[in-house]
Subunit: 348 residues, 2 copies
DNA sequence: CGGCTGGATGTAAACGATTACATTTTTGGT
DNA sequence: ACCAAAAATGTAATCGTTTACATCCAGCCG
């Protein structure tokens, strides 16, 4: 593959001049520049980003470490991240880190020299206690627990969102409200459970361990939990699932059992993935502007990168929004929205 | 940030020895190695991948250029790609390339020196005609049109899958079968349309331009197209949507209009995203093992990378599978599957 | 005409690793 | 105890860029 030297030789100039043409770092006589560009095209020359970043110490790439890559949530998250990064001229290096401190550390280390900063979502591990990761590598935590003040983070107002939804269920008359929890040990899951309990407490309803069922954020998990709930007596009259996938699974189970929604059972989810409005009945949910969440995280990271010295730690919490549809009764049908993708920064 | 020199100095050895410890390229006395590793931890040293790949000429990274990142299809595709790449010790550098030859070329160029090969999905542009991209950079085309034999590619058996589904609709008695097409200019979309027409032809049914509605692979697009179909008279009795998202949108529109599925209208989609089975009624679809598609593409790319000299071009076509559920009538309810993710290589 | 200015270009030292080759140390057989 | 072979380690060139600094040359002014 052609290098800068080949181009320099062929165009009878020094490598410095070629470099200047491609990096735009200094002015080159127009005629010379044109000649160099012509030669470059002939030789199919492209600057080698690796070599370049070795000396400039910048890669224009952001590392993205996610616990998983599966499902609408991550799809939309990556979308938001990519769009924002790209707008600022950055690429993204995506990696899935399986659970476990060691694996995360390992993944972080392998990012050394490849990225200018890392977006880390590690809902199970206190990420601010990571050891033996490259020093000076800016990191922004996404939906992850963090003890100290020492790290940037962007999270969702999980507890508040859950609380609002459950409070709504109470307000329309429900007293036996079950929750299908998220994965054990998961940060968001714990927060949402907390919000659920808050709401019950606010409403003067005692919490009941039997109404708190285990789930794992998958449709199948929601389906299974819903079957358990069906067997209970007295049966709850409403279910709050800690995410939409589980709500969808639950919906499916209830329907199969001939339970009418929302007459016999109200269902609500969390995240408000696009599909909610296409379910039958359309699913009430707590909207999280997922793409904006990713976008916000990139903003913070980019700030940390470009203002390495005077960057003050930020701790953002994205607001949620209650979206009531027919699955919880009461509201009229909603028309599907225009299909354009909302890129506006809405919250915090 | 600590470099290999710092470690060498601190451990009183040469950089070569340190390098050998970290690259595992040669054997180092156990005692020396231990000392070096200790120093490395103290100094929080991590090898600089950029520098490393400059001399080894390998980045252990695959570039992934997709037309979009939105929705379940891409979610699952990236998942499959990441998993397979990771198993072989590769990272993935994801980028969304907007439409247009120039932008793709630009994106390809920016990959120079960052990746060992590229997975390119460009359903609108004949990718084998790209100019001015780094020479010698292995590329595998994903679901993209390609003229010559000069390039590796992995595609879906779109036409055959669509044909089978429409043939099935005919076999259960439908004669007025509409199609909601995919995005104009899209490769998969064109192929699926072709399959639809084949099937009609096989069944001795004349094609009718009014029954071929425009779509764009989104739920909203399917919703809109379905509304148009509702207004037709005579109204078709079955709709084949070129992907599941549109089928879901259409389903929603029909339901809103009080049309019974499948009694008044049969619906089928394409892709068989996980959600199909959770819809009401569960959606018939043409299953594409999307994750396997990504996995297969990675396999081909990896082969091209590691056997640069004696790699013979491959042109794979992933088989599809007809999945009949209640939305087309006939079949009994299906239980949700176990939630494990299918990683087996199934087709070709 | 000579000296100065400033724009265009060239020279060469980094950046942080790997690795062929050279050198030193260890090992083991006698 | 000695020597050859093997093992461990060191030296230095190299990968493809950027960039501080040096150089060159044309034009301008006095």
């Amino acid at each position: 593959m052609a290098t800068i030297k080949d181009v320099a030789r062929e165009a009878s100039v020094s490598v410095a001049t070629v470099s200047r043409v491609f990096s735009g770092a200094a002015v080159v006589r127009e005629e010379t520049a044109r000649r160099i560009r012509e030669v470059a095209v002939t030789l199919r020359y492209t600057p080698h980003s690796g070599a370049r970043s070795l000396i400039t110490n910048r890669t224009n790439t952001l590392g993205v470490l996610l616990p998983d890559l599966y499902g609408e949530f991550f799809s939309e998250l990556i979308h938001g991240i990519d769009l924002t990064a790209r707008n600022s001229g950055y690429h993204i290096l995506v990696s899935r880190s399986w659970e476990g401190r060691t694996e995360i550390e390992e993944a972080m280390r392998s990012m050394r020299g490849r990225v200018d900063g890392v977006l880390l979502m590690s809902p199970d591990v206190h990420a601010d206690t990571l050891l033996n990761v490259p020093a000076n590598l800016p990191v922004v935590l996404l939906c992850s627990p963090a003890r100290g003040q020492e790290v940037d983070s962007v999270t969702i107002q999980n507890s508040r969102g859950a609380r609002e939804m459950v409070t709504h269920l109470i307000s329309i008359g429900h007293r036996q409200i079950a929750i299908i929890k998220g994965s054990a040990g998961n940060f968001d899951a714990a927060e949402r459970l907390r919000g659920y309990r808050y709401a019950l407490h606010d409403g003067g309803i005692a919490t009941n361990p039997d109404l708190e069922r285990d789930g794992d954020f998958t449709e199948a998990g929601g389906y299974a939990a819903a079957q358990d709930l069906l067997a209970m007596k007295p049966r709850p009259t409403a279910v709050f699932a800690a995410n939409d996938s589980m709500a969808i699974g639950a919906l499916s189970a209830f329907r199969q059992a001939g339970v009418r929604i929302p007459e016999d059972m109200a269902i609500a989810g969390f995240d408000d993935i696009p599909l909610c409005r296409y379910m039958d009945p359309p699913l009430s949910s707590v909207r999280v502007h997922i793409a904006d969440l990713g976008a916000k995280a990139v903003d913070v990271l980019l700030h940390a990168i470009t203002h390495k010295n005077d960057h003050v730690r930020r701790r953002e919490r994205m607001a949620t929004e209650l979206v009531i549809r027919r699955s919880t009764g009461g509201e009229p049908a909603e028309r599907p929205p225009p299909k354009t993708f909302n890129r506006g920064m809405t919250s915090v």
